[in-house]
């Protein structure tokens, strides 16, 4: 030991409340460890969240395909359009179920409108889901 080192060792700092100081150190260590534990918990939550997002994305892709399929199944032309486009063609009567014109209208008109409404509803629901997913 040099004289200089001996000189340094002669100085001490007084800690008035050593127990409180030690308690603070221990509590700070405890909190640090609890933060580490929380880190693991958050990591697990995030993994589960990512897995869920992956599943939702997959479901939405399937929904998009299904909605597209419904759109494809819907006729491109209305009867009026067809009449305009092909005025010489007469609609095939065999395909129609024999009913009065009034009945036909009420039977056919409703499902088509119902479908359009359903498709709109589903499309709106899909948009909402996507918006919520983007917000996350």
């Amino acid at each position: 030991m040099t004289d200089k080192n001996i000189g340094q060792q002669e100085f001490f700092m007084q800690i008035n409340n050593p127990n409180g100081f030690r308690r603070n150190i221990l509590e700070a260590s405890k909190l640090t460890l609890s933060i580490l534990k929380e880190t693991h918990r958050i990591r697990r939550i995030r993994e589960a969240k990512h897995e869920l997002i992956h599943r939702i994305t997959h479901e939405i892709k399937e929904l998009k395909l299904l909605v597209k399929k419904i759109e494809d199944l819907m006729p491109v032309y209305t009867k009026a359009d067809l009449k305009k486009k092909f005025p010489h063609m007469v609609p095939d009567k065999k395909t129609h179920i024999s009913m009065s014109v009034k009945e036909k209208k009420s039977e056919h008109k409703q499902p088509a409108n119902k479908h359009v409404a359903e498709i709109d509803k589903v499309s709106r629901a899909l948009d909402e889901v996507q918006r919520r997913l983007q917000g996350l």
């Binding site: 700092m13 007084q14 800690i15 008035n16 409340n17 409180g20 100081f21 603070n24 150190i25 509590e27 700070a28 909190l31 640090t32 609890s34 933060i35 929380e38 918990r41 958050i42 939550i45 995030r46 589960a48 969240k49 869920l52 997002i53 599943r55 939702i56 479901e59 939405i60 399937e62 929904l63 299904l66 909605v67 399929k69 419904i70 199944l73 819907m74 006729p75 491109v76 032309y77 209305t78 009867k79 009026a80 359009d81 395909t95 056919h108 008109k109 499902p111 088509a112 409108n113 479908h115 359903e118 498709i119 589903v122 629901a125 899909l126 889901v129 919520r132 997913l133 996350l136």
Partner: protein
């Protein structure tokens, strides 16, 4: 192309297919809604954990501060 105001007529087989697809779509929408609710739960849990982090960090900094005060007392 189809003018929107005019009614359209769907073949009965296509109509049935559309109905079944709409049914599947509705079930899927419900499922996705459930998954989103789960996601919301995870999000809430994550936020709670982060809040706990902040709280713990605040407590640690208070303790360090008081230790510093203790050390700087003459």
């Amino acid at each position: 192309m189809m003018s929107e105001s005019n009614p359209v007529f769907v073949k009965i087989d296509k109509y049935k297919e559309i109905l079944s697809i709409v049914d599947v779509v509705n079930k899927k929408v419900l499922h996705v809604k459930q998954l989103l609710a789960e996601l919301e739960d995870f999000k809430t849990k994550e936020e709670e954990e982060i809040m706990n982090w902040e709280k713990s960090m605040e407590e640690i900094s208070q303790k360090i501060e008081s230790m510093q005060e203790e050390l700087s007392q003459e």
